[in-house]
């Protein structure tokens, strides 16, 4: 009878092997190639920044076959790119990332060209709520992993002990391993398949965060001390039609006071397009109530 440890070891290797049936290698990515995950039938997901500017990449399929794959969509905000893969590739089983718990065992699986599978092993250290990337992309959940990133792991799956994909591996701050959770990847993949791109909301203003003097916000009856000073308005934009003017200071968005300059991002997700958002604006020492209708961001 095999020992507990040998059994555990074989189970880990079996899990890596099984997950590896949905992991491809993308030769052009990074310094020495990166990985990609077969997300749905004929659709692969890779990390966008690793294959920036490429319309076509060379992939090594789990069968060992080398083929070209076109990049059919990309969302730089969440760092996801879509690859068109042959339909015979096997899609990965996805986890419900909302049920993951700290302490769970995870594996990062990648493919190194024709050399085969590569993996590292670790734990979920901590799980947090939604966050935004520096380019404004909404990520539904934040994961800290106690796991060694390895060259080329980006784009490969982070899997749990049931061999389900928790998310796509991406480099995090300071050589840590980050994850784009499966739910977020699904949302972005749906949008990319539907529109060929991800839609973002747009109202057409440029802003600068400012602090109100204490007596001013007490006099105006606004609860926060921060605002967004409008320093640019695009002609013909939603903001201009809503009556916003240069020099206005936005004190609240949708009834919520502003804690950080990024607060504006929260109304610019694709789902908010067409919605009217109430704004509290300070103009000439008076508080005004306006509403702006979020439009789709024009393709630049």
């Amino acid at each position: 009878m095999p020992s507990t440890l040998a059994e555990f070891s074989q189970q880990l290797a079996d899990t890596v092997e099984k997950a590896g049936r949905s992991v491809v290698s993308v030769l052009e990515g990074g310094r020495t190639g990166v990985s990609g995950t077969v997300w749905r039938e004929g659709i692969g997901v890779a990390v966008d920044h690793t294959i920036q500017g490429l319309d076509e990449v060379t992939v090594i399929l789990p069968s060992g076959q080398e083929t070209k794959a076109s990049v059919t969509g990309r969302d730089p905000a969440t760092d996801i790119a879509l690859l068109r893969l042959p339909t015979e590739t096997l899609a990965a089983a996805l986890a419900d990332d909302s049920t993951a718990r700290p302490g769970e065992i995870v594996l990062s699986v990648g493919r190194r060209g024709t050399e085969g599978l590569a993996a590292t092993y670790g734990l979920i250290s901590a799980i947090g709520g939604p966050w935004r990337t520096s380019s404004g992309g909404r990520v539904d959940r934040w994961f800290r992993l106690d796991l060694n990133p390895f060259p080329g792991f980006s784009g490969g799956p982070i899997i749990n002990a049931s061999c389900e994909v928790l998310g796509i591996a991406n480099s995090g701050p300071g050589r840590s391993a980050g994850v784009i959770p499966a739910g977020t990847v699904n949302r972005v993949v749906d949008q990319l398949l539907k529109h060929g791109r991800t839609v973002r909301g747009y109202i057409g203003i440029g802003v600068q965060p400012v602090a109100f003097p204490e007596d001013a916000w007490q006099k105006l009856g606004i609860s926060g001390g921060r605002g967004l000073l409008i320093i640019a308005i695009a002609p013909g934009s939603a903001a201009s039609e809503a009556g916003l003017m240069l020099g206005d200071v936005i004190a609240a968005i949708d009834g919520k006071t502003l804690r950080t300059g990024a607060s504006l991002q929260s109304i610019l997700d694709g789902e908010n397009i067409g919605e009217s958002v109430p704004l509290d604006v300070v103009r000439g020492g008076q508080l005004l109530k306006l509403a702006v209708t979020v439009r789709e961001k024009p393709v630049s």
């Binding site: 085969g116 092993y121 060694n148 060259p151």
Partner: protein, 192 residues
């Protein structure tokens, strides 16, 4: 009784048991310049370590039992980072050797060594990618200075490599196959 906690406990017990076995075949190797690393009792009277650990003619070799003996340099390959030392010491446990060929990515491995002043420290991880003709094996283990020359073993405690260095945050070991090839090159194989 919670089944999960039983699994956890039997795993850690199993690791401790393998670690105890591995400690018996791991030695501390100190060169004349005061630096130290680890070594593996490959067979009776023969210690395999790294070339960067064995940097003098004679070394102080300390067994897990506390026994100390001089280890004379027999062979050294700086490129492969391997060295062989001869010790005359009473017969004790020797390493069970297993080929690293055929190990799969994800299989569990254990490394033993003497980092800093620690005696017989253990670290565990998994095989990073399967070995293909390379004399080196990458494993997801946290090596530290002092693990050099010690054994990398699979879950039964059989030695599959000699820990050598850290490559892009992964542990790198010289495979047992490369060690055997090195020993035969210097006419140190058991058959010779």
């Amino acid at each position: 009784m919670n089944r999960n906690s039983q699994v956890g406990i039997s795993l850690s017990e199993a690791i401790s048991k393998v670690a105890a076995d591995m400690r018996e075949i791991t030695v501390k190797v100190s060169g004349s310049n005061g630096r130290h690393g680890s070594g593996t009792v490959w067979r009776q009277g023969l210690i395999v370590t790294n070339a960067h650990v064995a940097n003098s003619e004679v070394h102080d070799v300390e067994f897990a039992t506390g026994l100390r003996a001089p280890g004379w340099l027999l062979a050294r390959d700086g490129e492969l980072d391997l060295a062989a030392l001869a010790v005359s010491a009473p017969f004790g446990p020797i390493a069970a050797i297993r080929s690293a060929d055929g190990l799969r990515a994800g299989e569990m491995v254990l490394a033993l060594g003497n980092p800093f002043d620690g005696q017989g420290s253990i670290t565990t991880g998994i095989v990073h990618c399967s070995v293909s003709k390379s004399p080196r094996l990458l494993a997801d283990i946290r090596l530290a200075p002092g693990y050099s020359g010690g054994p990398l073993a699979e879950t039964s405690g059989a030695v599959i490599g000699i820990n050598s260095m850290i490559v892009e945050s992964l542990g790198c070991a010289i495979t047992s196959d490369a060690v055997e090839e090195f020993l035969s090159r210097f006419y140190l194989s058991e058959a010779a």
